[in-house]
């Protein structure tokens, strides 16, 4: 019961706090709109927000897929070929040293104002956590398992497929959780720099025309989507790995 009520209580208290700040500061609605006003703006612009949300969700989703495919395959190459580690690891770290904000304009210039540049941005931001986590997992296979497989006359490729990759799944899952949490950043940054659709575009547009209530409505929608995505991925990953002990989950609700 308390589990279901908790998100409602948290959301309710935040909205209340927000309303109190509006009352106390007496800010005009174009600086800080009241929750009711934002709700109204959300309702009036429902179809507009829905359309832009679809675009952003698509960008995040495609970014997640591309980033995961690219990241996992890079980690496999890194773990399997010794020379690849020496050549690719510096590039990998370097790619993370350049902030995605800095290359966003170039990506928009190259890939256009459409969806491609945002997908590329999300992919780029996801790539690193996926590679590092999966690679770490692949490196830390229990040596006894590999020894055992060797006495069973298994080929290195089958040891990789049947033992090292499944053993690295929990690490990959950690990477995917981080990736899901940061993917919206990539998409939104891309939309801010140059776009004609998406929640980031809508926010920028509304802000420019002092439609602060619409901007807040778009922002809250984005947050709701990011949270929903995270929980869906988290639950999915848990279900996919029933052997993974989960101490926190097993603790009794207090």
């Amino acid at each position: 019961m308390i589990r279901l009520a908790r998100p409602i209580i948290i959301t309710g208290s935040l909205i209340l706090l927000w309303q109190i700040i509006v009352w106390a500061s007496g800010s005009p609605h174009f600086i800080l709109p009241s929750p009711a006003r934002v709700g109204e703006a959300w309702w009036l612009n429902f179809h507009l927000i829905l359309g832009h949300t679809g675009i952003t969700v698509l960008e995040i989703f495609l970014g997640l897929i591309c980033g995961t495919i690219l990241g996992t395959s890079s980690a496999l190459v890194l773990s399997h070929f010794r020379p690849a580690r020496r050549w690719l690891l510096p590039i990998l770290v370097g790619s993370q040293a350049i902030p995605v904000f800095a290359i966003a304009p170039i990506l928009v210039l190259w890939l256009g104002y459409g969806i491609a540049s945002k997908v590329a941005m999300a992919t780029l931001i996801i790539y690193f956590p996926v590679v590092t986590n999966f690679y770490d997992g692949l490196r830390r296979t229990e040596p006894g398992w590999v020894d055992l497989a060797a006495t069973m006359n298994a080929s290195p490729l089958l040891i990789l497929a049947k033992i090292r990759i499944p053993a690295a799944f929990p690490s990959l899952a950690s990477g995917l959780r981080v990736a899901t949490a940061v993917a919206p950043i990539g998409a939104i940054v891309g939309e801010w720099v140059g776009s004609s659709a998406g929640l980031g575009y809508l926010m920028l547009h509304a802000n420019g025309r002092m439609q602060t209530d619409l901007m807040f409505a778009a922002l809250i929608t984005l947050a709701a989507i990011a949270i929903t995505m995270y929980f869906l991925i988290d639950v999915g990953l848990r279900k996919a790995m029933p052997w993974q002990p989960d101490r926190l989950e097993n603790q009794k609700e207090e």
Binding site: E142, G144, M152, N153, P166, W243, Q244
Partner: protein
């Protein structure tokens, strides 16, 4: 390759019988292993007579596990070492390099940890070897083996849901599933409580009858209970000596007074070989 290995020659001899795998003996001669610049052992030879259980005792870190892993083919060594195999009276086969070791599928390995893959059920763990060789697994035989180790009802259970003793029994079934004539065991029961250990020793010995076994252990009583022969490995570089062993058939009764006398003697013998800083402790015989 961090390990330096000189002059390895392993001979595998066998007699023919009707079984899937005839009993096979193994002898390893002149094995040397360097670890961090010092020799763990040099020109060490060991004989595993066919169909007998040889137990290897000795202090920690003396190189027992390494010796076992060399025979299993999972301890890397330089290619100037050589292995000679003589299975089924065939001509000697000269092989160099660790990757070509265990070439006749003669050896199965069982470690102290059960090494069960946590994402596979008990039965899937039992047929792991076939899966890793892309062979069609014999599910019927796997079920039969699980029944023999008393786990017929846990075939589809994940290892995390099994107790330590049950997991080690699955590992035993997996070892039997490989159906190899030579079984190498590295302290397979040391993590279990005393009673479970006694049960598992007996179960393992009964199921592995007729196979050539080399078992590493810390426990003199375990050695006396299930060993046809007891070898003590000690010193640096380490050497092997064979010690006296009760005459009865294995598994022997652990509460038999004669066995306990042997146990006291064996502990005394091991204590004499102990060169560790705590060797002066009063209650340990010297």
């Amino acid at each position: 390759m961090p390990q330096k290995q000189r002059k390895i020659s392993t001979q595998i001899t066998s007699a023919t019988s009707g079984a899937n795998h005839p009993p096979v003996g193994l002898s390893l001669s002149n094995a040397s292993l360097k670890f961090d610049g010092t020799y763990l052992f040099q020109d060490l030879s060991i004989d595993l007579p066919q169909g007998l259980c040889s137990v290897l005792l000795g202090p920690s870190g003396v190189g027992k596990s390494s010796l076992l892993k060399i025979i299993a083919g999972i301890q890397p060594f330089e290619t100037n070492g050589s292995i000679t195999l003589k299975p089924d009276g065939r001509a000697n086969v000269q092989i160099t390099g660790v990757e070509k070791n265990n070439p006749f599928n003669l050896i199965a390995y069982m470690a102290q940890q059960d090494l069960l893959l946590p994402w596979l059920s008990a039965i899937e763990n039992v047929i792991l070897g076939a899966r890793l060789r892309r062979e069609r697994p014999d599910i019927g035989k796997a079920n039969e083996l699980l029944r023999l180790v008393g786990l017929a009802n846990s075939a589809n259970t994940l290892p995390a849901k099994l107790s330590g003793g049950m997991r080690q029994r699955v590992a035993l079934a997996r070892t039997l599933m490989e159906n190899r004539p030579i079984i190498l065991m590295d302290e397979p029961f040391s993590a279990l409580d005393a009673i479970t250990r006694l049960h598992l020793q007996e179960l393992a010995i009964n199921l592995l009858t007729g196979r050539t076994i080399l078992m590493v252990t810390h426990d003199p009583l375990e050695a006396l209970r299930i060993g046809h022969r007891i070898l003590i490995m000690s010193g640096q570089p380490a050497t092997l000596i064979e010690t006296e062993c009760p005459a009865e058939e294995i598994p022997r009764n652990p509460s038999d007074p004669e066995l306990l006398t042997h146990n006291a003697n064996l502990i005394q013998q091991l204590a004499k070989l102990d060169t560790s800083p705590f060797a002066q402790t009063k209650t340990v015989p010297r």
